[in-house]
Symmetry: D2
Subunit: 326 residues, 4 copies
């Protein structure tokens, strides 16, 4: 596969979509980004990286960080079988998890959330257990868990991303984090609501702060495609060490496919057919297991918060390559 040629054709195809949609404007720090940016990068499983357009320009990762925080919590919990206990071995005599067993899946579900309208309905009807780790409520629970496991959820993620991307300059964008906090009443409502059900381990202000910092990290398409390589390598990190076992990596991909693009996950699976996680900064990371990790960026968002040109680019990439999981 000549990745560079494919990316160039994809970029040409996506060009007319660049500038379509709306740049996220709920905080001023995001609103300032120019709508006409477009970049795409591919990191294959052997470490080669290709890119076109603004693929080395940093942008705010926003919800893409949710895929990494989930991976870090799962990685911290080796020995756990991620809630499989729900299905139970017959007879129920399954041995309790050893040291490090984590039960994040008792505190957050794995099902798509339906509509945004439902987010609070479901929390209320389902006793403060968010539907999945990629809606805000679920990501707050994951961050809360990462905070407990590491003592500093946002810094531990930043360090991981620096190491994995090989870019030691990655940093929080303080202005974005502050701006999020200033407009953070809705996330505060979600966190307090879950706390009222006993589903947070750390104080609400601390959880929210780490959550906003994680979202504020700035990375380029290159950084994200490289840092997300472990999802295509069945859990192996860039240095060949194991972050997750193959089953765990597969499962994060499954959750990305069913829940990774907000309320459009079904649509995205139908159209693109790849596990993916999007952010309101305009980035989308996507995985072709066993082959490569992609990241595309263009700030204009559709009504459900996914990059318009980014989705068009990924759609065309799967058309050109014939690579989809289906």
């Amino acid at each position: 596969m000549d990745y560079q040629a494919v990316l160039e054709e994809v970029a040409a195809h996506a060009r007319p979509y660049v500038g379509q949609g709306q740049v996220a404007d709920y905080i001023p720090a995001l609103e300032r980004v120019s709508a006409d940016r477009f970049g795409i990068a591919v990191a294959d499983i052997h470490g080669a990286v290709y890119g076109v357009g603004d693929w080395e320009v940093p942008f705010s990762v926003q919800s893409i960080s949710k895929a990494f925080s989930l991976a870090l919590v799962m990685a911290q919990s080796h020995g756990s079988q991620g809630g499989d206990g729900n299905h139970g071995a017959p007879g129920g005599n399954r041995a309790p998890g050893g040291p490090g067993t984590d039960d994040i899946w008792k505190r957050v579900g794995r099902e798509p959330s339906g509509t945004p309208f439902n987010s609070l309905v479901q929390l209320e009807a389902e006793n403060g257990i968010p539907r999945n780790p990629f809606i805000n409520a679920g990501a707050l629970v994951v961050t809360d868990r990462l905070q407990t496991l590491t003592g500093d959820a946002s810094t531990s993620m930043l360090h991981f991303l620096r190491e994995e991307s090989g870019n030691p300059d990655l940093a929080f964008d303080q202005a974005v984090a502050d701006s999020e906090a200033e407009h953070g009443d809705r996330n505060a409502a979600l966190a307090h609501f879950m706390a009222s059900f006993g589903n947070l381990e750390n104080p609400v202000p601390s959880v929210i702060q780490h959550y906003f910092w994680q979202c504020s990290i700035e990375m380029s398409c290159r950084d994200l495609a490289v840092a997300g390589g472990f999802l295509a390598r069945h859990g192996l990190r860039a240095d060949g060490s194991r972050l997750l076992d193959a089953r765990e990596a597969k499962r994060i991909n499954a959750v990305m496919l069913t829940c990774g693009t907000y309320d459009a996950a079904g649509e995205f699976a139908y159209r693109v057919g790849l596990p993916a996680k999007s952010g309101v900064g305009g980035g989308i990371i996507a995985v072709i297991p066993g082959r490569c990790t992609l990241c595309v960026w263009s700030p204009g968002l559709d009504a459900r918060g996914n990059s318009v040109a980014g989705a068009a680019a990924l759609d065309h990439f799967t058309t050109l390559t014939g690579w989809s999981v289906f």
Copy 2:
């Protein structure tokens, strides 16, 4: 791959789960099935079929029929790009569909439905447009469309299944269809409700009747694995002719993965990682694109309506083979 050996190991693994769960009891005709049945079959893309246990015993396909009715509607609508118009080409100057263009996707969505609790909520909030073609409301719309396209939705499906499975003895189970109709107030409510939004083309009683007949068809694991082969063959039928183009086949698989196992689709993707469609008769059909189609059957259902032993079997199949879409 020695399919026969794999199936035997899978059956051994699933054995302790057989008899767990509840046999569907909402209609007497289903309730009579013995809980201790178990069968599994694999049809590879070259036409070879393997099976163990009760793999040649017919059972009520129930909701598995929904995957076939969707495929038949899509097949009748060649030339259509399945609602892609929603994403629009830039400038919006996309040519209108040619003859045969179908707009089933304007009448039914492609997103997971969230909880069963939501089914009527969402119909109400979303103007009578069901979330996806695999919840009952969505399947009624697809059946309604198939009725319009073919003049006889249930017979056209029966003929297709006979041809595709190579089993000319396939038939409706009149007792099951009658029993469904007798206990069909909820489906009647859904159909009238959608009719009140103008989302049915045919009279409610006719749509419901064809829907019940489709569900009542009796097939074995062998029949279903063979008949579903086109989903693994990127749209090619058993005789090599094309039912769907590759993109359409991929898309049905995507909808099966995100919506095919009732409210447990996220869980099923997480655990098994295959496109699948289950039925309350205890059958599950699953697809490994480019390789094979499986069908497993065991009547005991979990709380969400999926076969307990069937899910365990598919889980173990992917573990043994390492084949998952992720």
Copy 3:
């Protein structure tokens, strides 16, 4: 109180509102009514009747019939204490009801329904028990019960209304009833849905038919004010015989106040402060216990289905007289 003078002042006050709002147009038979009609009548508890404007012009009673069907079911059930058993005597040793005891309140609630949006949600979440007897679902249950008690729900109501109003010419409007049936998918959905929970005693088509016939009865403001006199007379009929005991009459008034004007009951209580039942034909019946029953009619409806000029007239009536229940 010089009722005639008050009514004239009220009519003058309401004049500018006549023609505002929308005439119900969901069925052609209602749509044809001219928007500029206005009538109001008062029947005092001694039998005197006063009216102005189009107070003797018949119109479609529609949902006003719900107050009468509830009264007839309660009247048929003397000896019952209408679900008071829920509160229980201490010790729970309350004697079972005697002959005629009815338990309509086990099948329908007495709480306001919140938003129209909620109607199906609540039926689903609350096992097919409608919130109150004045939403459509609840009225279908009451009609179903009246059908069981009388053998002919709609005719028994027509006979009662003829006797009580002293107008032997009252009749069903066949065109309206047929038109409702033709556009009756939503009510059919509600009825089938309740049937699926076992909350209907009679076949769905029969219940719906009687319900539509009750709604189609044509009466004037005069007819309705006189026929509703028993609600102001603490349960005594026009001929002095007892239909309901004082407690029952009080309770129907309570349900009218909290649930009688669709989703605007709180607003209506706030503004007018009288028990009332409205219909989409533009009529509103209101009760001043111990004094009189009013009926006002003007076809233009507000967004919640209540007559705009009718509500303004009742508001002004309470302002002029100082009569409100609060």
Copy 4:
């Protein structure tokens, strides 16, 4: 009316219910109250007060404070017509309110809230506008407004209650207020959620604090019956000065009847037929316009948060006296 004799008979009737239900236990400070307390007091409109049982024992007013905060906001807003503008004069040329006009009714509704389940659903579906001023979300908005109007919402209410009850010893219960704050995640969630819709004027922590302090005020049945006298006197205060005009007092009574007893307002109206406001401290205040104000107290609550013995007492009071608003 020999109030003392009536109250004694009422107390005897209610006796078997005392101790039934559950004492509120969501905060320790309330949990400590003995379940076997019972008191009832009546204050007639001429200033006479009667009582039996524990009628002079202070208890935590809790949500009963919501009726007073609403009254204080309306009193601060003379000249306002309480949202009547929604109904509009024909032509819409109604003059803007004069000085003091308040628009609390643009920020909170007047409709019953349906189920508790719905509280957050409705806030979400209705853009952060609570259904009515007596659910927690609505009371937070009213407190927020009172804070803006007075600069100190809780102290201004305390002063008013001291003056109106004639009891200068009324005070906040600091332990209760602190305990509420410690377990206040759900109210914090509601407040942040409304803030995210722009429906709070003051900082969330300040609004919550004043809200908890208002709820923590300790008063006896005597204090509350006397302090609530203005609702029976059509708005006149104990000293004969005017707090509210007659229309405003009527309207508070209407909201109490339709929304004052949590999700049981319809049931309470059906059974008792009086405007009332209950609190989880076990108190209920009720109004017979033009006659008297009652307060009853017994800590055992039914499933919806209303005093079991208190409701039984009010029910019997209306039966004995024949006084209901219907």
